[in-house]
């Protein structure tokens, strides 16, 4: 009884901290938005304002992104591309590095805790890595306004996907497919929230592999990582438990984004003053986010992420169309 009360107190304490973090996020998120009007050459703001605002924003994105299983880049590109003065090329380059850093920071911890499956991630990452390089090359060849508009549409599509798609904490897979059986893709994890031990296996692996080819192209083209697509593909299509999907998605992202990031580095689309404060902030935030993955309810995470994405998606679309520049 006492243990139960203690864990309830811990949980409510964590939720209070979580709400506080979200409030801080909203405040920091509004700061560059309000300053965006003067974010043009000749701005009265000192140069250091933007790297500092980037650092704080990315720290908070990092906390939110890992438990949501969407990768930091998904939030980073529309928010920074919409409200900061940097060209979209540099934002996408930094976005890939941010998604990569977020995934790298969390991956070792998730692997050790059993929330990420190496055997599930590696075959998917092979195909997605190849296609992400193609996507990055295509993205850097297209005009920025077209990419910004497409980004807005994709982000709003992600919101629709998150609102409509049913998520299953523990999907039932009656029988694994031949490929996953041959590759030995299955596992057991202990759910920290309920204390249950969950056996899992996967099905529809060939379809999943094809889907990850398409996901790789989008990750490279928009620099947004691909956790938003990885998690539904793993959870709803392949039948992986939701938390293992989120954890494995991070591992896939760490490999896919590495491949695409090299394209941006080689093409000079990585500006250290944009990338480094973003990466450091995201890595620090992601470490906290990975710890929260065990204790937070999926529904709470989803609601907050949907709200943030909706706002960022509308902004990206309007900016791309020249309505709200």
């Amino acid at each position: 009884m006492l243990e139960c009360r203690s864990s309830m107190t811990d949980l409510s304490g964590l939720r209070r901290k979580w709400r506080l973090a979200m409030l801080l996020f909203a405040m920091v998120f509004c700061m560059p938005a309000m300053a965006a009007g003067s974010a043009v050459p000749g701005s009265t703001l000192p140069w250091w304002f933007w790297p500092m605002a980037l650092f704080v924003t990315c720290f908070l994105i990092g906390i939110v992104a890992v438990p949501a299983g969407i990768g930091g880049g998904t939030l980073f590109v529309p928010i920074i591309g919409g409200f900061f003065p940097f060209h979209l090329d540099f934002v996408r380059g930094a976005g890939l590095l941010v998604a990569l850093a977020s995934a790298l920071a969390a991956a070792p911890m998730l692997l050790r805790s059993g929330l990420s499956s190496l055997r599930l991630a590696l075959p998917l990452a092979l195909l997605a890595s190849i296609s992400s390089v193609a996507g990055a090359l295509l993205g850097l060849a297209l005009p920025a306004s077209l990419i910004q508009t497409a980004l807005g549409l994709i982000v709003l599509g992600i919101v629709a996907l998150m609102l409509m798609a049913k998520k299953s904490e523990f999907p039932v897979v009656e029988r694994p497919d031949r490929l996953s059986s041959a590759l030995g893709i299955h596992g057991v994890f202990i759910d920290g929230a309920s204390g249950k031990t969950i056996d899992w296996q996967v099905h529809r692996t060939p379809v999943g592999l094809v889907l990850f080819l398409a996901i790789g192209v989008m990750a490279g083209m928009f620099g947004i990582g691909a956790g938003w697509a990885n998690v539904p593909a793993l959870n709803l299509l392949m039948g992986v438990p939701l938390k293992v999907s989120a954890g494995t998605s991070g591992l896939v992202l760490s490999l896919v984004d590495s491949s695409a990031a090299w394209v941006y580095i080689n093409r000079g689309a990585v500006l250290p003053m944009v990338a480094v404060p973003s990466v450091v902030g995201m890595m620090l935030g992601a470490r906290i986010g990975a710890r929260l993955l065990h204790v937070l309810k999926g529904a709470v995470i989803r609601k907050m992420v949907i709200t943030l994405l909706l706002f960022a998606g509308i902004r990206a679309l309007l900016k791309g169309l020249g309505v709200w520049v």
Partner: protein, 141 residues
């Protein structure tokens, strides 16, 4: 064929090995990034593009930025790695490449266990990463 007993994924030896190497690589990249960025901010190393001039060029497309600031593409930055801003690319390259050592380390590990499929998958991902980094696929050279 089932190469893994049904045990929590985190206790599997391949995952542990991968996690350990990835963790070290990530830490190394992050440390390099923090040191080089501090040197850049506090002007311990002279920058290629002065920070005060950045607001005039960070709104340009990458191609125009490179032309205006005479910054090289591909691995050309290595020759200018003593400049504060470009020295940050060392840490960025370490982070973008830190998945390579764990992938390469797993190849002989899987081969010893006759898990050829996963040895090939690891080699494939490592090859994609190497080709992307070399600039062969990306036209960076």
């Amino acid at each position: 064929m089932s190469l893994h007993a049904k045990e929590p994924a985190g206790t599997q030896a391949d995952a542990q090995r991968y996690a350990k190497l990835l963790d070290w690589g990530t830490r190394l990249g992050l440390i390099a990034l923090v040191i080089s960025f501090s040197a850049y901010l506090f002007e311990l190393l002279p920058p290629h593009v002065p920070v005060s001039q950045l607001p005039q060029v960070w709104g340009l497309p990458a191609k125009a930025f490179l032309e205006q600031t005479q910054t090289p593409t591909g691995w050309g930055w290595l020759a200018l790695a003593s400049r504060g801003d470009l020295s940050n690319l060392i840490g960025i390259a370490l982070l973008a490449g830190c998945s390579l050592p764990p992938l390469i380390a797993l190849i002989p590990w899987y081969l010893r266990r006759r898990d050829r499929a996963y040895a090939v998958v690891c080699a494939g991902i490592a090859l994609v990463l190497l080709l992307a980094a070399s600039g062969t696929l990306t036209g960076g050279h």
